[in-house]
């Protein structure tokens, strides 16, 4: 864990976003306290607190005074729509560039996508969560 080049608190925040997107953490679920997080992953409590503060800023988590941190209503949908915007620029662009280097045509790519639609790419309405499919 925490092997990336980004600051550790970014990596923690990203891991929590990932759990919300996958449904492992649901709206209104309580997330671990900074103390639990720190002792579980053996990281400085301030690092965990920074990650939580960032997610509160992004309105992914919210704080209930004296109780703890919870997943904000609508967090999963908001994350999904942000990720969709970034998906083409950050994920697909490099793939398309690599494909061009390898001499693959657009139809090679679309054929591949079409044949793999059942395993990877959903053909259902884009607003459904994985469980709803």
């Amino acid at each position: 864990m925490f092997e990336g080049r980004e600051p550790i608190y970014h990596q923690i925040a990203e891991a929590i976003r990932g759990e919300i997107l996958s449904g492992a953490l649901k709206e209104e679920d309580q997330v671990m306290s900074t103390t639990q997080y720190a002792t579980t992953y053996r990281i400085n409590p301030a690092t965990a607190a920074k990650a939580f503060a960032q997610l509160v800023d992004e309105e992914v988590l919210y704080k209930r005074r004296g109780v703890g941190m919870f997943v904000a209503p609508g967090a999963a949908a908001a994350l999904r729509s942000q990720r969709r915007e970034a998906f083409f620029a950050e994920r697909l662009e490099p793939v398309i560039r690599e494909a061009a280097l390898l001499g693959l045509s657009t139809s090679d790519l679309t054929d591949y996508l079409a044949s793999h639609a059942t395993t990877g790419v959903s053909t259902t309405a884009p607003d459904q969560t994985p469980e709803e499919r």
Partner: protein, 295 residues
């Protein structure tokens, strides 16, 4: 806020003709876990001894704004745990705890007893009857339960086996989160404690090599791996602190104010850009023999 702020200005410490520390300028903020790293003989223990008022040097030392030397108000709130331990050797552990309870204003006896159970220590034993691992554990218990505004652990967990160290790290983080104070951790087991540290201070041959936020240090290092000539092209202009060749593949470790755009360009050219774990960075910066070979 309960932790002490630490400051030294041009601190130099000599033992006879040997200079252990030279011109150390250091600022450590209160209520954080600071890592103090260095190779054997780098001056870590000397620095902690000065902060614990066991020793005096030239220059300025301030613990919470005061000179700690022979300063009782400060000394009772500063706890330095050394592997050898500073205990009443002829008294049972429980008697040692009673003595500490009197000497340390914030000592938590209940917490100490629960840690004795956690580390499976028999309170009726005397310090000299303890194994190395048990002695280390008792030192850790004293350090934790003292809840001193400045607590320094000097290689205290070196004698512990892996599960005991795990418990020690857990307790440090848990108790620090519940009772913030200034903690200085000194260890050679860098990879085990790296993410526990909020700041990292490295001493090398008696001098201060760096003192940084752990987060800043983490983003200051990168490895570039790939075909040697591509790696060299992208490493030009960056501070290279390590190079490793595996056949036609080269890995360089760059450190400093990195140009993120240049790293992104390196990735586009097919290089793998990776993080530099603190332990690797430490080795690159303090392995002087290797550094001289490389230059």
């Amino acid at each position: 806020m309960t932790g002490y702020r630490l400051h030294t200005d041009n601190l130099t410490v000599s033992y006879g003709k040997t200079t252990a520390l030279t011109g150390i300028n250091l600022d450590l903020a209160p209520d954080r876990i600071h890592g103090l790293l260095g190779r054997n003989g780098a001056g870590k223990t000397t620095l902690m001894s000065v902060l614990a008022s066991l020793r005096r040097g030239q220059g300025t030392v301030r613990v919470e704004g005061q000179d700690p030397f022979e300063n009782e108000a400060i000394m009772q709130n500063v706890c330095l745990i050394r592997e050898s331990g500073d205990l009443l050797l002829d008294e049972k552990l429980t008697t040692n705890l009673s003595f500490l309870e009197d000497a340390r204003p914030r000592f938590d006896r209940t917490y100490a007893e629960s840690l004795m159970a956690t580390f499976r220590l028999d309170p009726a034993k005397k310090p000299q009857a303890l194994s190395r691992g048990q002695a280390s554990a008792f030192g850790a218990i004293v350090g934790l339960a003292s809840r001193a505004p400045l607590t320094m652990f000097d290689e205290v967990h070196l004698g512990m086996d892996a599960p005991a160290r795990q418990r020690f790290y857990h307790e440090v983080l848990h108790d620090f989160a519940e009772h913030p104070r200034t903690i200085v951790l000194s260890s050679h087991l860098i990879s085990e404690i790296a993410h526990m540290l909020e700041t990292v201070t490295i001493l090398h041959e008696g001098r201060l090599l760096l003192s940084n936020e752990a987060d800043d240090l983490h983003v200051s290092g990168a490895t570039l791996t790939g075909a040697a000539e591509v790696v060299d092209r992208h490493a030009t202009g960056q501070q290279v602190v390590g190079t490793q060749d595996l056949g036609p593949t080269r890995q360089v470790t760059v450190f400093g104010d990195l140009d993120e755009a240049a790293l992104a360009a390196a990735e586009r050219d097919g290089l793998t850009v990776g993080a530099v774990p603190l332990q690797d960075l430490f080795i690159h910066l303090t392995d002087t023999d290797r550094a001289e070979e490389a230059s």
